[in-house]
């Protein structure tokens, strides 16, 4: 019970959401030193949130999803992972949530080497990482409230907490009063907001979004990206895989670009190497 109160981001996040201009509300840097939650597998202390060291991932012994990737994403960063289809973005993400294991090299999340993570601890890793996908992955026979509540029930929260935190989260993502709708009664943007609320309800320190705007129109995409940015401002590390050039150009954040399983660029700016260039993929 008490551990909820320790999780400062929940409240700061709500406050941030209530601010129309959240930009001037840059909340405290990542709360790494806070008391560790029960089941929290991340090691306390500073250090990168995501750390890939010489990661090679081979499928079927031949095709390489990643071909020697070393990169570090600091706690509290907002990073775009870009590149054409088949460049290794999905492999990168699946390695982060330990859906895959590297053929060689090491992947660390929150200071924890996933290669040494016991299988039984994998669920705790997933609780510490919020995931958002292009296809939302909502349960179609449940309302928005039930979908978000599900993530809390799965992690063993009681009814009172569920009743308190779910509306809070839905309000945070801008879905006030729409909690009783089923996914099919909502627009794509609204569904993605539900999935973000679900990803955030367990207060992850890392939010991973795989093509979160892939199925959405540009205007809706902007809304979703703004939401992710606001979440990042509360100290959550955000990693967004996308090939949505305009969004990346607009946000001017750190961009890690993959091509054929290698990092070909890692810099702040737009989608392409020349920030001014909005042309074709090189």
């Amino acid at each position: 019970m008490a551990r909820i109160e320790e999780q400062a981001p929940a409240f700061t996040l709500v406050e941030a959401a209530q601010q129309e201009h959240a930009d001037d509300l840059v909340v405290s840097p990542p709360v790494v030193s806070e008391k560790r939650r029960r089941g929290d597998i991340f090691r306390p202390g500073p250090g990168p949130m995501v750390d890939f060291k010489g990661v090679i991932k081979e499928y079927d012994g031949q095709h390489r999803g990643l071909n020697g990737v070393s990169v570090s994403i600091g706690t509290g960063e907002f990073v775009f992972l870009v590149g054409p289809s088949g460049s290794g973005k999905s492999t990168f993400i699946r390695l982060c949530i330990r859906e895959l294991r590297p053929t060689s090299g090491s992947v660390s999340i929150g200071g924890r080497d996933l290669g040494e993570l016991r299988k039984s601890k994998v669920p705790y890793l997933r609780r510490a990482i919020g995931c958002v996908f292009q296809d939302f992955r909502l349960l179609s026979d449940r309302t928005a409230i039930e979908n978000v509540a599900y993530a809390l029930q799965v992690t063993g929260h009681n009814k009172q907490e569920v009743r308190r935190r779910v509306p809070e989260m839905l309000s945070l993502v801008g879905l006030d009063g729409k909690g009783d709708r089923l996914p099919r009664e909502m627009s794509g943007g609204e569904q993605q907001r539900v999935s973000i609320a679900r990803a955030l309800v367990n207060h992850p320190r890392l939010l991973i979004a795989d093509e979160p705007t892939g199925n959405l129109d540009p205007e809706t995409s902007m809304g979703i990206m703004d939401l992710l940015l606001r979440i990042n401002r509360t100290g959550t590390t955000v990693l967004v895989a996308t090939h949505d050039m305009h969004t990346v150009d607009r946000m001017q954040m750190r961009v890690i670009r993959l091509d054929e399983g290698r990092i070909v660029r890692d810099a702040e700016g737009g989608y392409n190497e020349d920030p001014g260039d909005t042309g074709e993929i090189v």
Binding site: S120, Y124, R126, R127, L138, A151, V154
Partner: protein, 299 residues
């Protein structure tokens, strides 16, 4: 709270996949029904065999010329066997008793009236504690001076051996059959539940995504399996009850049934069978879904 949630999730799944749930229930029904028909039959046959085996008595005939001292010595020998537990009991059948028994057995007892003297020797009717002990009894009293030189010791050796073999065969064959039935039932239910899991794989994917532990994912499916198993068991028990009333009881009450006449056959009582089958149904459902889920929960 969690258990309540698991139950709600299980019921939600049963409603959402009604056809599959019905299939799982029918599978459980068939398995439990076969089990429920087999177990009492098996126990009945076994008790019938046991009843026959228990009748392996050793008759030790006493010579008419044996002295009282010799008979007393033989009695002391048998008492010794009883004390060591080899023999459960023995009774003395006097010449007159033997004649009376013979009189009862004969269709026309008047022929015995023609006899000038009683030709039947007295005997000890010895009941070995275990059918296997018959040989020990025989060994102990062979060459006893009190033995009747003509009749000596009489016991149905071949019958005893055959019955013992039959009893062992019935026992182990029955256990093996029950084992095979249980495994088949578990696999069948598991297969049906696999359909349900397949229908809900999206849900499992989401559960794992948000960090549900495997045991948390497993519970609703196990409960679903238990509910289907119980439902199948209840229907199977109802069917068996109908068959018991309509067929078995009618058969047992007909006076000509040879086996029931012996009076010593027993089988499982219906309430005990019901309990056993309901538990079996629940366990089948739980184990079936548990085993099937393992494959889906590998990370």
């Amino acid at each position: 709270m969690r258990l309540g949630m698991f139950f709600r999730e299980a019921l939600r799944s049963i409603r959402a996949n009604a056809a599959i749930s019905v299939a799982a229930t029918v599978t459980a029904l068939i398995a439990v029904f076969i089990l429920g028909a087999f177990i009492p039959s098996f126990m009945y046959v076994r008790s019938a065999v046991d009843a026959q085996t228990a009748k392996v008595d050793v008759d030790v005939y006493i010579s008419d010329t044996a002295s009282v001292v010799q008979v007393n010595k033989l009695t002391a020998k048998l008492d010794g066997l009883k004390a060591t537990g080899i023999v459960s009991d023995f009774t003395y059948v006097s010449k007159n008793d033997a004649l009376a028994q013979m009189r009862e057995r004969l269709r026309d007892p008047s022929v015995l009236d023609e006899l000038p003297t009683n030709p039947l020797p007295a005997k000890f009717n010895v009941q070995p504690a275990q059918p296997e002990n018959a040989n020990a009894v025989v060994a102990a009293v062979t060459n006893d001076p009190a033995l009747d030189p003509v009749e000596g010791i009489v016991y149905p050796q071949t019958t005893a051996d055959r019955l013992l073999t039959a009893a062992k065969f019935v026992q182990w064959g029955g256990f093996a059959l029950i084992g095979i039935l249980l495994v088949a039932a578990i696999l069948l239910i598991g297969n049906t539940i696999r359909l349900s899991i397949y229908a809900r794989r999206r849900e499992i994917e989401v559960m794992r995504l948000v960090g549900a532990t495997n045991s948390f994912i497993r519970w609703p499916f196990m409960i679903e399996g238990v509910i289907c198993g119980l439902a199948g068991a209840v229907v199977a028990v109802a069917m068996l009850w109908g068959i018991k009333l309509g067929v078995v009881d009618a058969w047992a009450s007909s006076a000509d049934t040879a086996l029931t006449k012996t009076g010593s056959t027993t089988t499982i009582s219906f309430p005990a069978l019901t309990l056993l089958l309901v538990v079996a149904g629940a366990v089948l459902g739980a184990v079936g879904s548990g085993i099937t889920l393992r494959r889906f929960l590998r990370i």
